[in-house]
């Protein structure tokens, strides 16, 4: 990502309507917004719509953005809202939420199979690829309000403070949703790792 001073310079050029300035903004952000939209929505067409809506909003509003430091939060706020507005039921839409009781074992013996450190598996390993696919699908199966927090914190690597700013939530709510989202993913990974004969109905 460009340094904040570069963002400030680009914003100033956009404010002055310099030819090519908005196109440069698009070039800087399009891959990141597209990837974010795809992780959130699961479909390429939806990710393209999210990207288009974000860029349109930027085209209309960037000239009035006062503080260049706020650009990243502004971009993700628009993109996050566009993702959350895509309310149509996708194939990955969850049917219900998991309760905390299901996510945290009551007894030590119910801990479930250990989750391997991905660093211990070679890049081309079949089990590694299978677990990556499990993670990708599990993200899409998270309820949207948890998925968005996980996407911002763990995939976009934004801070709790930035996520608070983007979603307009209390820090405690961001932390709670992130934890719960990770617990849900942990459970999905364990389900994938359980031997077939040991699966519960």
């Amino acid at each position: 990502m460009p340094a904040p001073s570069e963002e400030a310079a680009l914003l100033e050029r956009i404010r002055r309507d310099e030819p090519g300035a908005f196109e440069e903004f698009v070039g800087r952000w399009q891959d990141r917004i597209y990837a974010f939209g795809l992780r959130m929505c699961g479909e390429r067409e939806d990710a393209l719509d999210v990207l288009q809506e974000t860029l349109l909003a930027a085209y209309r509003s960037l000239k009035t953005l006062e503080n260049p430091e706020a650009l990243k939060a502004w971009v993700f706020r628009v993109a996050a809202n566009a993702c959350l507005m895509k309310r149509r039921k996708g194939k990955y839409e969850p049917e219900g939420e998991l309760s905390l009781e299901e996510l945290v074992p009551r007894e030590a013996e119910a801990l479930g199979p250990p989750i391997p450190d991905p660093g211990a598996l070679p890049e081309e390993d079949v089990a590694r690829r299978r677990l990556q696919e499990t993670v990708r699908r599990a993200i899409l199966e998270l309820p949207p309000q948890y998925r968005i927090v996980l996407a911002l914190r763990d995939l976009e690597e934004l801070s709790t403070r930035e996520t608070v700013e983007i979603l307009g939530l209390e820090p405690s709510a961001v932390k709670m949703r992130l934890h719960r989202a990770r617990l849900m993913l942990r459970k999905k990974l364990q389900d994938a790792l359980r031997p077939a004969t040991g699966q519960r109905p």
Binding site: D17, D31, Q132, L155, L185
Partner: protein
């Protein structure tokens, strides 16, 4: 002295483990958690499974925009009115 594996203590700890991993807890609470972890293998195992879950998120391949979508985006953006 509390037993090493008191379910309530373990449960309260598990609730804070993401904050612990993210280094967002105050030092005194961090120290209490570490002291409990030293004595509680199930909580250590739980922490490790959560840590590795977060590590798996880091391994996801980056999603790049297919060329046909880039072209489609350019086509849509060309329709924007030019600034005065």
């Amino acid at each position: 002295m509390k037993p090493t594996h008191d379910p309530e203590t373990c449960r309260a700890l598990v609730e804070r483990l993401s904050e612990y991993l993210d280094e967002e807890l105050p030092p005194d609470l961090c120290a209490r958690i570490e002291s409990h972890l030293d004595d509680c293998p199930p909580c250590r195992a739980f922490l490790e499974s959560l840590r590795n879950t977060v590590r798996w998120l880091d391994t996801l391949p980056s999603e790049t925009m297919p060329e046909e979508l880039r072209r489609e985006l350019s086509r849509r953006l060309r329709k924007l009115p030019h600034a005065d």
